[in-house]
Amino acid sequence: MNDPRSRRGFLGAVGGAAAIWLAAPWPELLAAGAPPPAGQPPRFQTLTPSEATDLEAMAAQIIPTDDAPGAREARVVHFFDRALGTFAKAQRPLFAEGLAQLKLEVARRRAGVTSFAALAGSEQIELLKALEAAKSPFFEAVRVGTITGLLANPAYGGNFGKAGWKLIGFEDRFTWQAPFGYYDRT
């Protein structure tokens, strides 16, 4: 849980993002922020195809697609791929192990099914709720990473087409004039 009394803590959800993405020297982070790809998503550099499929399915339950794009359309899995290969490298083992365990858990629950992505939506949600209830650090890392990838600058690989920003109503114009909102308009 972040620390709401702290000016910085309230802002930064310090117990969340910073704890999850801790080992991130700034220069590496900037290096990770290459220009966003146009058109087709890039090939995965860090995740295996099967890891990427399951991670994307998890992300798609955290921020589902409805009438608006969700984590899938925002290419959050590509944010993970880039982050885990660069500034969040230290988190790679947590993800590798977490995704491997997830496969085992899926097989335990549904004989013959070997991938989280292959479960029915309701089964995926049930499993994620169980992970959350068990305070799984892996689940928390995926949750925080999904939200971060949805809303970080598109240069980090997620928030494709600014889908996350559009969802919440944030415009990246960075130059504004009054009136700024409804209440200062009149």
Binding site: N2, D3, P4, R5, S6, R7, R8, G9, F10, L11, G12, A13, V14, G15, G16, A17, A18, W21, L22, A23, A24, P25, W26, L29, L30, Q61, I62, I63, P64, D66, A68, G70, I125, E132, R143, T146, I147, T148, L150, L151, A152, N153, Y156, W165, L167, I168, G169, F170, D172, F174, T175, W176, Q177, A178, P179, F180, G181, Y182, Y183, D184
Partner: protein, 526 residues
């Protein structure tokens, strides 16, 4: 400080542990800058520990946040530049003592500092409206710049304050409402807090003071220089400092005088690390007061949802302030006081990870819907208050944990005074009242405890100023009682905490100290 000394004709070397950045280096990149603290201290290299009392074993916890770059905290600050009021300097004699607190009057008064507050406003550029607050202390000059434009959060605060019989007045901000001294006006990008300004409109020392210092030809700025010890001679005078340069080479810089402006956490740490034969308890610490009386400023945040778009992310963070509770009715039995603003300083990631009501889901369809509904309609009602000086709230050297240079980590020992807990709760409730009065349709708050928050940016009181060398570290001109050519000028000099916005007073003290040090040096008194 370097600007005042260099323009007075002295040769100055400024050692800064962080890099020398410029506006072209600053980015609207929430992940790098806000979430991962690009402009502040790096906990991976400089860890902290925390314990509530000295009976406990301290554990790693990110406790202090300070600007780690040339320009320090003024690069990433929000720009709230409230002056202290008269009461802040004399609260002890006005209100009497309080058990468990080392409340004391300052050795200077508001009147002593007023000319320097005015200098700060005119030198760095502060926007505001003189006379708009019925509680403002006397001032010798108006603000050099008109207030920044009001935004919806400011209109809502005006509405709430009016309902409660209070006054919301234009916030004094270190943000240029018009071009000033070669710098352009604010473009209302909204990325002030935790960010560096990309257009020089935020009045940091980086853009307002450092260029003047360099232009004298007498000031050398050495970034990426990590000071590890202040050296002294057998006579008990400072001879210079030892530091690690960017290649980790240890270098000695000789000096006729040393001025420590390393903030309220690193300053006491450096003095404690500078222990020697003559100064076994740390440099300038015969009183034992170095590192004591650590104050963070308190307060509380209430959150409210409104019917229409607030768009708090556009424009400078704060446009209106309320000071009606700067001093409280003594009948309340509380010590201290505070002020309020309305803001929405949560950028997209910060909002999504920590801005929704505590009972809200944090993933799934309902969570997603709340992100859509809340981002542009939510307001933080922010109370900023005093916190009491308590002798046992300290910065000390951790006995085991080291930083990346092998030096002892900062250890924070801190427990809120019970009176402060009551004060924070009172202000939290009034912050909530303001939201109700402003018409919020849903309100929530966050729990708090007597364990301080993490990443505290206000680091105050740890080398307090005073007339009694047994009870304070520096005198009224910031000269160490124990060492004639050592000065300490930053938040550590504070005797009391003020009402939650210390930067203006830190800068005013720096101008005053700079003038005093230059005058003493010219008289051959250093």
């Amino acid at each position: 400080m370097v600007r005042e000394l260099a323009t007075a004709g002295f040769k100055v070397v400024a050692l800064e542990q962080g890099p020398f950045l410029h506006e072209g280096d600053f980015r609207h990149d929430e992940l790098a800058v806000s979430q991962l603290a690009a402009l502040t201290n790096d906990f991976t290299r400089s860890p902290n520990t925390y314990r509530k009392t000295d009976q406990e074993q301290a554990r790693p916890r990110n406790m202090v946040a300070y600007g780690r770059a040339v320009g320090g905290g003024t690069i990433h600050y929000t720009g709230n530049l409230w002056r202290f009021h008269e009461i802040d300097f004399i609260e002890r004699s006005r209100r009497g003592p309080l058990a468990g607190s080392a409340m004391a009057d300052w050795p200077i008064t508001y009147a002593d500092l007023e000319p320097y507050y005015t200098r700060v406003e005119w030198e760095i550029g502060v926007s505001g409206q003189a006379g708009a607050s019925p509680f403002d202390p006397p001032r010798s000059k108006p603000y050099p710049l008109p207030p920044i434009p009001i935004k919806s959060t400011g209109v809502l605060l005006e509405r709430g304050a009016k309902q409660l019989g209070w006054t919301a007045f234009p916030a004094p901000m270190g943000i240029l409402s018009k071009p000033y001294r070669g710098r352009g006006a604010c473009v209302s990008c909204g990325f002030c807090e935790t960010f560096g300004c990309e257009v020089q409109a935020k009045s940091s020392t980086l853009v307002s003071m450092i260029p003047d210092a360099i232009a004298t030809g007498r000031c050398e700025i050495r970034p990426l220089s990590y000071v590890r010890k202040i050296e002294t001679d057998a006579g008990g005078r400072v001879t210079g400092v030892k530091y690690f340069d960017s290649a980790n080479r240890e270098i000695f810089q000789r000096a006729k005088a040393v001025v420590v402006c390393a903030n309220g956490a690193e300053t006491p740490r450096l003095l404690l690390m500078s222990a020697s034969k003559q100064f076994p308890n740390g440099l300038a610490n015969s009183s034992g007061m170095v590192g004591r009386h650590l104050m963070f400023n308190g307060g509380g945040v209430a959150v409210g949802l409104f019917d229409h778009e607030v768009n708090g992310y556009k424009g400078a963070v704060v446009s209106r302030v309320v000071h009606d509770l700067y001093e409280l009715d003594p009948k309340l039995g509380l010590y201290g006081g505070g002020g309020f603003d309305f803001r929405w300083d949560l950028n997209p990631i910060g909002f999504a990870l920590g801005g929704l009501p505590p009972e809200a889901p944090n993933w799934g369809p309902e969570y997603k819907q709340m992100l859509r509904d809340y981002f542009n309609r939510t307001v933080l009602s922010f109370a900023h208050t005093t916190s009491l000086p308590v002798e046992t709230n300290t910065i000390t050297l951790d006995p085991t944990l080291k930083d990346s240079w092998g030096l002892p980590a900062i250890r924070v020992t801190h427990r809120e005074h019970p009176s402060d807990m009551n004060l924070y709760r009172y202000f939290m409730d009034r912050a909530d009242d303001l939201l109700t009065a402003a018409g919020a349709t849903r309100r929530w708050a966050f729990p708090f405890s007597d364990v301080p928050p993490t990443q505290n940016p206000h680091l105050l009181g740890t080398c307090r100023m005073g007339s009694d060398p047994r009870r304070s570290v520096v005198n009224r001109f910031h000269r160490a009682h124990d060492v004639p050519n050592l000065f300490v000028v930053d938040g550590s000099s504070f005797v009391t905490s003020g009402r939650g916005q210390p930067t203006m007073t830190i800068m005013a003290l720096a101008f005053r100290a700079g003038a005093a040090i230059a005058a003493m040096a010219k008289r051959g008194e250093i």
